[in-house]
Symmetry: C2
Subunit: 265 residues, 2 copies
Amino acid sequence: MKKTLSIVKIGGNVLDEPAALQAFLRDFAALGGAKILVHGGGKIASSIGQRLGLEARYVQGRRITDDATLELVTMVYGGLVNRQLTAQLQALGCMALGLSGADGNALSAGKRPAGAVDYGWAGDTGPERVNTTLLQQWLDQGLTPVFAPLTHDGQGQLLNTNADTIASVLAQALSAVFRVRLLFCFEKKGVLSDPTDDASALPSLRREQYRQLQDKTAVSAGILPKLDNAFAAAAAGVETVLIGSAADLLANAADATACGTRILA
Amino acid sequence: MKKTLSIVKIGGNVLDEPAALQAFLRDFAALGGAKILVHGGGKIASSIGQRLGLEARYVQGRRITDDATLELVTMVYGGLVNRQLTAQLQALGCMALGLSGADGNALSAGKRPAGAVDYGWAGDTGPERVNTTLLQQWLDQGLTPVFAPLTHDGQGQLLNTNADTIASVLAQALSAVFRVRLLFCFEKKGVLSDPTDDASALPSLRREQYRQLQDKTAVSAGILPKLDNAFAAAAAGVETVLIGSAADLLANAADATACGTRILA
């Protein structure tokens, strides 16, 4: 029987709050079995970017990754955030291993082709680009990979890649060898049927319902890329895909359906 | 019989020159057998520090690592430099794995006690703090660890640690399981008997000669920490310890004694 693997994605809302981060790291370190952490950025990149005199440029909610921005995210996400998370997890007895996709060629990507918008050094990836063999070896050694939202193109170029996408793609690839639980942690209890009511988290969501919610514009724009990645994972056979608050999803690790919104294919 | 392991230290002089760095990375990637790269910083940390409004403070040639400086070196050495080196080595077919000492608890350290000088977040380490088992597993998997000059104290704190020291300490610990060749690459052909004459590189240096050179102040101050780390490695039984130019030391990998200055216990 396949072993269970938890893949946990956290975003800026956890990273930006020291108390929330400490609580999350304790819960994550206490999580049994094989596990992987994928982290996004947070406000620190913007604040360091401002100090460096860089101005963030966004098109359709996506940051344009020019040369200076790639340097910034490599420093902040790949350096500061990733190295500190790794050191803090080690202190909690978790054998963390901080990674960009270049490390051990764990996750490669292709530069997004410039179309109507040129996103710069943004990398698109997929499950076929995951080094499943090496990740399985590391997990079997008791290591906990901690992914920064950075990939590489195999030609020496680092690329900025969405952390939700990385989590989804890892889950899809590693479902070949593990029973994967993919947990997208964010600031809400789950996907809300009414964006103005925090108590309206849905217990589960099918793609058809999701389309209906979108038609009613009842889904906030910020969660769309997360949901697209979640549905892609569910459709590809990832056993459990949950969206919810870190505290709920990790505290109820034993009962995967107790909290958050379960995404169904 | 033990397998051979090459541990190569490069410093700022290589990192700061794109052409020299490319040449070095090609030579390093082509080096056969198990290998580890340890890199220092270079001028980029100072230039980014200036843009961030940080002023570097030195006491007796050593940088004082206050909170802001630790953040800076974590970003620049642990992020920008380490991640880029790893991606570039991957492009050359080398299965690089970028590390701080916190990753897999590869190398821990203790904060240097504040005495006459408080060096701040500087970490002192030793061969007993190397995770030899894990490094051996990684090397057996065909991975090439690439160490940034950062360690951790096991309590969640990253520490700034001299790259020459890291290379020496790794060589000492891994000599238990490998025949180690420790190569300190710098801008000269070797240890010069006359600092004003680049052609005066010594073929070898024993500790007694070293003391005599020091008495004659014929050794430049910048090389003293490097030589101390080199002698520590030789005294601890590291089979081959060489100091010289990257091009010479790597090109003559097959004949360890052909180039550079061999450090003898």
